[in-house]
Symmetry: D2
Subunit: 369 residues, 4 copies
């Protein structure tokens, strides 16, 4: 009802704010028998972590996860898994002088209207800080998917400002290509088109210096999705993916397959032809993005999410205070000049959670073999 | 779990296929005391009805709704409202020769993989036929919204193929402008830019004759939304809107406010400045589309949905049968050359259902005064 | 939220009142491939039907079910199954003179307080009439259980007034023993202890003539339950069973296994000893009623429900009207002098729905083989 | 789905076992503006705490709650409240020698069947340890109820073995009477009939020395319940109360109002007569236990729960091991010879959670004034 749970058969419930004791997630419905330790969570948490490169926010969080329950002798027990991530680098003072101001592009005003008052420290619950436990929970979901159906979720930056990547075969992009340049150095913008990546990094640096920010587009590819997954009507897989991505801060658009480009296409050019390939039914092309009728066809799932430019800007902006009085604001907190690099693990997380939930819906929650 | 319910505090559950006894919806959670009769449902059902003009499918359904329960002496009682819409024009024979073939762009293959077999008559549950009871339920939701908060949902066609409408002030578009040209004749494409509308109609007619189809974009505007509506994190209003729209057949993209255009924008040009207007806090511009942090700001809500070209084509297309054998198919059923005109009431319906659900979440289900 | 859905993985949603167009249920989550026709529903509907004997209400309902959706060529398709049962014998006039009075023991007053007004015809939604579609839905659930795990649910009358049945081995009682005496004549009270049954029938007849009513206890036995079914903590199987039974009208108590008698027992006499029997672990005795920790042990499940005496009485009773003015009332509708005989199929229905839901939770909703 | 959430509009989700990092609850849906600090939680946690007297288990847990999120400047913010209670007194070795044995009356066998293996330390998730966070969450629910509708939930021990308390007016029993004798000393058995209480304590002590345990009955009274609360059909208030109580370990029976005694009553003696009292409609007697049609009448709500004798016994009991081999077991952990005294705050907790959930369902989750 109040929107802090996600999923049905495999459901996560989260709590926590930017500041305070920490963030916690309870994962309910995970089958018993999955090998799991805190080490499994660290990889994606590190990819999401602030302070990981000079083009992201310099807030420094250790993001050390503690599994409080739900595992025994290195395996999930089938009971709920609680994961706690403490907040450490809390500079509440950064925010105290803006507690009565409405930051442009932020939830300050709408939260005040909804709740009567708000936790103004770092945006409280509206902060992207809350995604830390989504990413932790999704690391478990990814392990499940890998084990039960060999499904892999890989996201990468497709566009930053006007710079667009060229991706030949989305389902062949590996996480390694997203994380590292071919010379082994970190691909801090997470765009596997190296040429575009370098231009993106340069653009983001330029904007950071200009005290500005920039938007972009992420693409998510699911390879080897389970066949026939998704429910008809309201819980079409495309609908649950869209809700999942739009539930992330700053997402302003989602499309799959041909997406908005389909608006200008004829049916005769848009339809993907079914063909027989190695004994299996496939489609010749993949404009349908891996789902028909909201149910997977076995073709790679292709989604894109548009992310708006960071609203927090270190430059002076006009606004009003709680009394409607005109004033000016300059956000002093530490923020990302472009959200996309850290958005990548968040997008993967939400897609993995949807897939794992739908897998459990269909296959039940019996212990893993 | 199987995805045939939508909403939480105000929840609809639907059943029914393209063929068979009919479609039924149960609306649970509607407060007692709302005036309601079957007449209230007819208007939007007529807008959604097949056969209403020469640019939509010629299938002829009476779409006469019967309220089975939940009202007494002309008012809702607070108990569940069941609405039945019988199927009448069922030409099952149209489909029998394609029962073993996979129609390109349709759910035939994915449903077979999911369920082991399928009701092949007219797509069964994957048919847009099931939206008839969504529209009926939403007519009740619209009545609630109008009465309790004066909120209005208006959708219209924004783009068909390359033809784009020019809309000056979305929140001032009335349903009348969408339904009628200024000379009073029916605006059968439902685009309030009359100039564009006429070009769209001509394009759709051309494609129908060419045995082809065309995609497009719909825009939905919510004027006078309740302030502070929406839940943080997973049930952000934008997330529930997106799920709602993506749950409709053929939707391949959703964006709100600046949408995908935000990818190329700077924070300094994207942020909407808060200002005081007549004692109320507003934003000077509305690139944020009426929601910040997933919660309404009171500004008009602006959403767009991309709709793919109809997959059913009367022209010959290559495909495979259930055994993977290559064959050809020509869909003989009656279909829309462009889905957009009939998509308009469906889009309004889903947005109204989300808003009414969120309103009841916050305000509870006490009897209306 | 408004409480008209039941179950999670296999969920039913119902609508309908005592009077009006009819009652409808949507069953969501039933796996594809189960053979199903309207004939499968008639047996239990007939057992629940008013007018079936001289010791139950003489209201005459045809109770002919119509499956509106979710089946094709005699099998479930995996999509929602809607079942409609029309109301036929509606004598609204029976109730019009009591519309402003509060019948003792009825929901009239509490509904008025909740909804502001109510459908006073026959109790509206508070009438046992709404159970007709629960029984129809449960007939489908029973078919699923029989097919996938050979589980059988049998209920019978254990007590009417002071008359208690002697049941030697609950899990060996067959429905036939419940429905028929050993001489083949109908056991209209549904108590398999023939001696007790005859006394019960005589008592009920005596009370009917005295314009009074009597309470009783039903026992439900689940034989061959799936092993390890039930969820820890909130959805313990015992908790879901209790909710299911208490959701039926007139149920005022539920116990399982030793039940309230456990209050006077020592742990050393209450604990059931685990033993090995034919390669399987069993308990020597069954005071635990087939569930430990809310999860099945494989032993027969034993539940009992206490049912209060019918509140509607043809004799004069004191009450107040809507204005709080003292008055008298004599209920003229047709009512059961003892609810137990018709309660039996309702109790079986709710237990079967819980079991089927939990089975689908664990095993998923893949098509049946 | 996996049953670790409870409630709908106000929903709690719990995680944690007897051993491991601790237990955590997330409360979702609590309105903003309720004053709340960790001090508010300590009172009921202390009442539930092991080691509080010589007639309960001597396990020693600090049970110090930490509110991780959802409050700011001493008030709830409307965002989810996470509460963590660490485990401290963990003697895992107590249990290691019984890891392959099935303790009679425990969930060991059924959990093994369900999950394939189990956390055998102290019963894992089946331990009453998990109720610690239910009680913490309910302390918040109780605060809400007291503030918004003056509703009070008081439970007490009604029966231990054959000893039954005499309670004149349930709704006038105060928590103080339950917790203290009239001379101010602690009423360690929590029975407000002092005479009976002393006999109960003596009986429990006798059984503890005899290495045995004893069952009993608790009664819960809700005074000043909101009028018209509860939903018709599946979520009748009585049904949700029953599920709530049965979800607690060791509960084997629940009844309300007249309960099982109704089985022997006539309608003419069972019906409560409506009367007008001080301008309000009341019933002369309260055999209906405060609910009709599952909806409150405003009369005090009266419920009773039967609790079985503790299964863990320090005496030698026969059982089998995981291979079905006959063996003997003597539980060495620290356990309660009678569960009732510590059951009281747990029963209050579950009833308060149900009431608060239903209150939010009807009234919504707007900020408190």
């Amino acid at each position: 009802m109040a929107g802090n749970s996600f999923g049905q058969a495999l459901r996560i419930t989260t709590a926590g704010e930017s500041h305070g004791g920490g963030n916690v997630v309870i994962i309910d419905g995970m089958p018993a028998g999955l090998e799991l330790s805190e080490d499994d969570l660290r990889h994606d948490l590190a990819r999401r972590r602030p302070g990981q490169s000079h083009i992201v926010t310099q807030r420094d969080e250790a993001d050390a996860p503690e599994i409080l329950s739900g595992t025994f002798e290195g395996r999930t027990t089938g009971t709920p898994i609680a994961i706690l991530v403490r907040n450490t680098d809390q500079r509440s003072k950064d925010y105290s002088d803006i507690k009565d101001l409405y930051r442009p592009g932020h939830a300050d005003f709408s939260y005040d209207q909804k709740y009567g008052f708000r936790d103004y420290r770092g945006g409280g619950r509206s902060s992207a800080r809350e995604t830390v436990v989504r990413v932790a929970a999704a690391a478990v979901a990814k392990k499940l998917l890998a084990q039960v159906c060999g499904t892999r979720v890989v996201a990468y930056v497709m566009q930053v400002g006007e710079i667009r990547a060229q991706i030949a075969a989305a389902d062949r992009i590996t996480e390694k290509q997203v994380e590292r340049f071919s010379d082994g150095t970190p691909n801090i913008v997470r765009c596997p088109d190296e040429n575009a990546a370098k231009k993106m990094i340069a653009l983001i640096e330029r904007l950071r210096k200009a005290q500005d920010s920039i938007g972009g587009v992420a693409e998510i590819c699911v390879s080897k999705p389970p066949l026939g997954l998704g429910e008809p009507v309201f819980d079409k897989l495309k609908a649950d993916f869209a809700k999942a991505l739009f539930s992330l801060p700053a997402v302003v658009g989602v499309e799959y397959g041909s997406g908005f480009a389909a608006a200008t296409m004829r049916g005769s050019e848009h339809n993907d032809i079914f063909v027989s390939k190695g004994g299996a039914v496939k489609t010749k092309t993949n404009r349908h993005g891996g789902m028909l009728g909201g149910v997977t066809t076995g073709m790679p799932i292709l989604l894109r999410a548009a992310v708006k430019p960071t609203s927090s800007l270190p430059q002076k902006q006009q606004t009003v205070d709680r009394n409607g009085k005109k004033t000016f604001i300059r956000t002093k907190g530490r923020h990302d000049p472009c959200l996309l690099p850290r958005f990548i693990p968040m997008a993967e997380a939400m897609i993995a959670l949807v897939l794992a939930d739908h897998w459990v819906r269909v296959n039940g929650n019996r212990p893993l073999p």
